[in-house]
Symmetry: C2
């Protein structure tokens, strides 16, 4: 295996693209902008799904499934929603092919034109709220707490594996409530779930906050988000939770009878994370040798490589390995014993480094004699020779340490690359020379935000939850501001 | 809750439609032919997915994800494949909407026409084999054992919830092998997996067999299937496993270097089950009061209903119920305690009957005095008063008994409704008067099969695996036949 991934410092963007392909996470398909998620990559996604799905269920949500297609007229019902999505819709216009008269293959059958075109869902608010209309009559039907795991399509012109693809996989929660307060509490709760997932599972520290009006979801009254820092200092939005107010209820006429007997519009939320998280995971932790996966999301947590000169040695090693593997599996730790003779140990070491397996054990003749094993951790690349006695507990603890260390490292990196800036010239200079997050004052107007974006390519990632009150002046206009907001260039 | 589901004997078809809606499994959506799978229905599907997915992984398969869209030219590469699917394809022709000049809403932007139309996948052989071409070079890359969980679209003119919908959910396995024998063994293995799932989880006995050439998957050399009998005597195909030979390898030029150094086409299989299984589950077991769910697939296995006259009684009951619930949950049994005061016990009893909860416990004041609980099983509707002592073990055993009883009942029904027929007049009479499965002789020609289908609406469901050799004469032509095949009218 030629280790020809570009280094991060050389070309961060190419490093990412190559790593995603080489580590067997995903590749571009023959269909423009659509990716193939390969088995190894998909098994990470499955772990993400399982963890998130458990959290959704713990918070009282159930899964359901709504149609892939949305009638064109539905999309138009909420004005800002259609405005936001119309430019990137895949449109189904026909329902049949037929043989070309000249025998050249199949063509679209012009007699099979749909009366109303169907949009491949870019998100499902419209088709779901049109359904909720029939499900909700009374306050007794509320709250309605539903999630769906689905594929969605947004016609992107410039695509990148996981980060921006025409088709992607995601989950979208859609809930309905009898009060504004309850809907807002749900919006916040789901952002907490995303933050917990990002930090505890993906080992990615995130900043929770409010999007500005410019950056809100099309159709939302308020969008909450989590923002993460990648190793090039750029921001990546890793999850959003929207308070929809009564917008979709009004668009689809969804009313309920309140306890008091009045007829009122329902309050809504929606929230989602997508396969984009796969991109965040790669860009937050990995290095020039390959993936660095937090143990909780690693498909293989421990790989064991035998080093032997004879079949007899291999048999002895295998016997020891069986014991260790059984002990690890009993603790729910996934193990792979790679005793294939097609490749040499050195090749295997590089391969499992590339794939980000958190712990590698190597066992050779001397280890057999001494009752030891070589333990290598992927995150720090440290190696140590360890007694077999108590090895299972040792590895269990090590995996926890690795999970924590990966998080700590990302947090330290973010802290080191977060700057307080009070001057526009310095703002531009920091962006160009250092990158990272900038906490600065803003006058609160869309115009200022837009001008800063045009001039610097930096956007307001969020108004952080916990931003302390602080008197200051907008970096661009000098107008008064009462708290700093988070600026960064972003994916 | 008005119990107005038509009875099975009255109108089997309406009974099914109403039951699926009333029991909150699914409903028709605003999009023609597409269904909404409701939370309760989806939670059954999730249990099916989990069980199947575990079996796929035990047999060495990994999940991956391939694009929703298939370029039109790909579909045409395998001649019989395009022939089979061209007439039911949803076609994407444009990638953008724009505001109508007259302000009437959004219209398809004529400037955003795709150069090549995209088909929403009706099945993924073509897009997957075009990918496998890059993944397979040598015998070392084989076998390639991949599955995907996905939505697919086949434009159906007459649709029915779960049984036949324009969009449906399924899994599709796609494997590649270096020999014909290995591919055939995989094809058989996966049919065994489906049969095991149907019988051990869904409690539906199935007949395993070969499809005739007429009924094969478009592009397969051999299609294996499992066929189940519904309560109206009709057959339902519950899963298929296809041996593709080298058809798709040739269409997409997928070759590998063999151990001997020669370059050869790869051998393939594909296999799938879909949300159709939900329809089979309902139609195989349920009754005029509602769903009858086998415990292994029931979202709620035990429901507990308190019967009380005072808050004090409720508190005492609740205390007892907590103990029982904790004991059941420890054994992995799902329990719901319905202490809502919005509905009376009688209403709840009917509701959980409708939803097919396998075991219902009711506890009242007298039970508290006597240390007993009323246990009702859904399948037989038997009720018994049981001592609380040892109740958890008793319920665990009862759930196993119910699972077995539901299977046994379905098997007995199938046995009673399977007929050996040797005469064409009798064949027609049995079909019209009794229905069910008919084992009869057939001369092996597509013409005879076709004529029988036209004249009687019965098709050859399969040539059963274990059909004993038996000299006989074709019921239609009198030509010699060496084994009976399985005829039935089918869904």
């Amino acid at each position: 295996m030629a280790n020809a991934i570009p280094s991060r410092s050389e070309n961060y963007s190419e490093w990412y693209n190559e790593l995603v392909k080489r580590a067997d996470l995903a590749e571009n398909s023959a269909v423009r902008g659509c990716m193939v998620i390969k088995p190894y990559g998909f098994s990470i996604w499955e772990k993400m799904q399982r963890a998130l799905d458990d959290m959704f269920k713990e918070t009282g949500h159930m899964n359901a499934y709504f149609p892939l297609f949305i009638p064109k007229s539905f999309l138009s019902k909420e004005a800002s929603h259609v405005e936001g999505f119309a430019k990137e819709c895949a449109v189904v216009t026909h329902y049949r092919l037929k043989n070309a008269p000249d025998g050249s293959g199949v063509i679209v059958d012009p007699d099979a034109k749909l009366e109303e075109e169907l949009i491949v869902r870019p998100t499902s608010e419209t088709v779901i709220w049109s359904t909720y209309k029939n499900w909700i009559q009374s306050y007794r039907d509320l709250p309605l707490l539903i999630n769906q795991w689905a594929n969605v399509v947004r016609w992107e012109m410039r695509t990148r594996l996981f980060l921006r693809t025409t088709e992607f996989l995601w989950q979208e929660g859609h809930t309905a409530h009898s009060t504004s307060e309850e809907a807002m509490a749900e919006t916040r709760q789901m952002l907490e779930v995303y933050a917990r997932f990002a930090e505890e599972w993906a080992a990615i520290p995130v900043i929770k906050g409010y999007k500005t009006a410019n950056e809100r979801f099309a159709g939302a009254e308020e969008t909450l988000c989590i923002e993460a820092m990648m190793q090039d200092g750029k921001a990546l939005q890793a999850g959003t939770s929207h308070y929809l107010g009564q917008n979709f209820a009004k668009a689809f006429d969804v009313k309920f009878q309140s306890k008091a007997g009045t007829l009122e519009y329902v309050w809504g939320t929606s929230w989602g994370v997508s396969t984009r998280l796969m991109g965040a995971l790669v860009m937050a932790h990995s290095d020039d040798s390959g993936l660095v996966l937090p143990p909780k999301l690693a498909p293989i947590q421990v790989v064991i490589v035998p080093i032997y000169r004879s079949e007899e040695q291999l048999a002895q090693i295998t016997e020891k390995v069986k014991e260790i593997s059984a002990g690890l599996r009993k603790k729910g730790i996934s193990v792979k014993f790679d005793d294939s003779d097609a490749n040499k140990p050195g090749w295997k070491f590089a391969e499992y480094e590339l794939r980000g397996v958190p712990v590698r054990l190597a066992m050779g003749a001397r280890d057999l004699e001494n009752g030891t094993v070589e333990v290598a951790r992927r995150d720090t690349k440290e190696k140590m020779t360890v007694q077999l006695e108590g090895i299972v507990d040792r590895i269990e603890t090590l995996l926890e340490e690795i999970q924590q260390n990966i998080y700590d490292k990302a947090l330290a990196f973010r802290t080191a690359n977060t700057h307080h800036v009070d001057d526009y010239a310095e703002f531009k200079q920091v962006l160009d020379e250092k990158g990272g997050f900038i906490l600065a004052h803003w006058d609160g107007t869309p115009e200022t935000e837009e001008r800063i974006k045009e001039e610097t390519k930096a956007t307001i990632r969020c108004i952080p939850y916990n931003a302390p009150e602080e008197e200051g002046k907008c970096i661009l206009t000098g107008r008064p501001s009462s708290r700093r907001v988070l600026f960064a260039r972003a994916y």
